[in-house]
């Protein structure tokens, strides 16, 4: 299962004798680390596909004929399609303000942007119930106007936006800070307008960081469970996202179907990891030919 490119021992890392341990110690440490990762990472990953396929490939495919599974997939895609672009625009705006300008309160703002990461997913969903739920502040007014947010799609989207809020911004802020403002200043001196400067100079310089943030943001948006679970109301075929659908199927002891949907999410995770790697590799390439 290992790529042949990895088959070289003690070549890529030139360590002299002063900097490494006896071979026995080395291999013992490697073995322990791999054993740990095997138990905690690899086994869960394998078990997902093993369980999904335990009754054969036909039954695996059968799981996706369920219209409720399709509804869950559609809702998950819709949620991500709203949350990711919004957080992308926010991330760019926040990074532009924070990285390119000096103003009072900048550090406070940067900390506030990270806030959703410090909040438990359950609480992230709950605050929207407190705001828009039947017993919430705006609940009675919303009911009067027949607007449904909680236990409906808007609530799911809002909770997802909240939990994925910082992803793009926190990738872009340090990147744009490190790049400074000289190139933008040069463009302005040469007569470029604000938007010309942004699209022709800034965007090409941050595109890999942007993509990185979007990949992480998307993975979380599609996979969020706790926050969405609070606001969804678990109405089958209507307000179930893929992770919630997995939960329902699992709790009904419909393991094959549960792991079949889970396997799609696991594939998404693997694609995310690969894409993340690719972007990391790409952004470390010299800028030659990055057009």
């Amino acid at each position: 299962m290992f790529a042949p490119s990895g088959l070289k021992i003690a070549e890529s890392v030139p360590l002299n004798r002063a900097r490494t341990e006896p071979a026995v110690v080395r291999w013992l440490l490697i073995a322990t680390a791999l054993l740990f990762l095997g138990f905690f990472l690899l086994t869960p990953l394998i078990v997902i596909f093993a369980e999904a396929l335990q009754k054969g490939f036909a039954l695996y495919l059968e799981s996706f004929k369920d219209p409720e599974a399709w509804a869950a997939i559609r809702l998950t895609l819709l949620t991500a399609a709203i949350a990711v672009p919004l957080n992308l625009v926010f991330g760019v705006a926040a990074a532009w303000a924070i990285a390119k300008f000096n103003f009072v309160g900048k550090n406070v703002l940067t900390t506030l942007i990270d806030l959703p990461f410090a909040v438990s997913p359950v609480i992230s969903g709950m605050i929207f119930v407190l705001l828009f739920g039947m017993q919430g502040w705006l609940g009675p007014w919303l009911q009067e106007h027949e607007i449904k947010i909680i236990f409906a799609v808007p609530g799911i989207v809002l909770a997802t936006i909240f939990v994925t809020f910082p992803f793009v911004a926190r990738e872009l802020i340090p990147l744009m800070q490190a790049q400074g403002t000289e190139e933008e200043e040069a463009a302005i001196v040469l007569g470029a307008s604000g938007w010309q400067t942004f699209f022709r100079i800034t965007v090409p310089n941050i595109k890999w960081g942007l993509l990185y943030g979007v990949i992480l943001c998307n993975a979380r948006a599609m996979g969020e469970f706790g926050a969405v679970s609070v606001v969804s109301g678990h109405i089958r075929g209507l307000t179930n996202t893929m992770p919630l659908h997995v939960e329902i199927l699992y709790n009904e002891y419909n393991f094959v179907a549960a792991f079949a949907v889970a396997s799609l999410l696991a594939l998404l995770a693997l694609v995310t990891l690969a894409a993340k790697r690719f972007v990391e590799w790409k952004s470390h390439q010299p800028s030659v030919g990055q057009r």
Binding site: A18, L34, F103, A262
Partner: protein, 276 residues
Amino acid sequence: MVLKQKSILPGFGLALGFTLFYLSFIVLIPLSTLFLRTATLSWGQFWEIITAPRALASYRLSLGASLIAALLNVVFGLLVAWVLVRYSFPGKRIVDGLVDLPFALPTAVGGIALTTIYSGKGWIGQYLEPLGIKVAYAPLGVVVALTFIGLPFVVRTVQPVLEDFHPEFEEAATTLGANRLQIFLRVIFPTLMPALLTGFAMAFARALGEYGSVVFISGNMPMRTEITPLLIMTKLEQFDYAGATALAVVMLAVSFLLLLAINLLQWWSRRRLAAL
């Protein structure tokens, strides 16, 4: 709050205006409802809710399991980071990429996978059960789930520090007569300390709030395997908003303290590294 120095780059007003608007509507206003909701409770009521036996039991489990999980991650995270940076072995790059799996895998999926493995009939559970070790539907299961989701934090904070560690320090120590263990304990480990602490705090904070992976494996028995986020969830489902809010405020307070600690740690480690 905002006072900026004149700059020739355009778009400051638009960018900051949108940032503040979006931040307020998505984060600040919803979060503030939590505190305003709590204000409708008297101190006595608030205290009664947050010190109820079931709540106290949930804190014990949440804090205890998170602490053990974070400590496990410090030990194995350091080992994994060390092995990935210092040694070569087949498949290293794949292993390196896989470390981030808990970040990318939806927590519910991780939860059902771990439950399946560690239940009485599972791949690993079937060997542990005869030994009297119960993982799934027991407090140990919570530790396993929290170790899983916190795994990348320590690895990813320690790894860059280890990569930037200048060989000259070790070479200097060797020429001064230190052996490998001494070098590790006296030269390398102190340098890694801030990163280790930061990784620990991050893994701990993440574990405290975790919900998705734990609900499946813990069995959710009140007083025994019920973590605080789950207790909040239960209260919400029973429309006990006041109770849920009070517990949420306690959790948020702890999270913010941890966030503060992480920021301080990062500031400290930056200063220490700069001093080198």
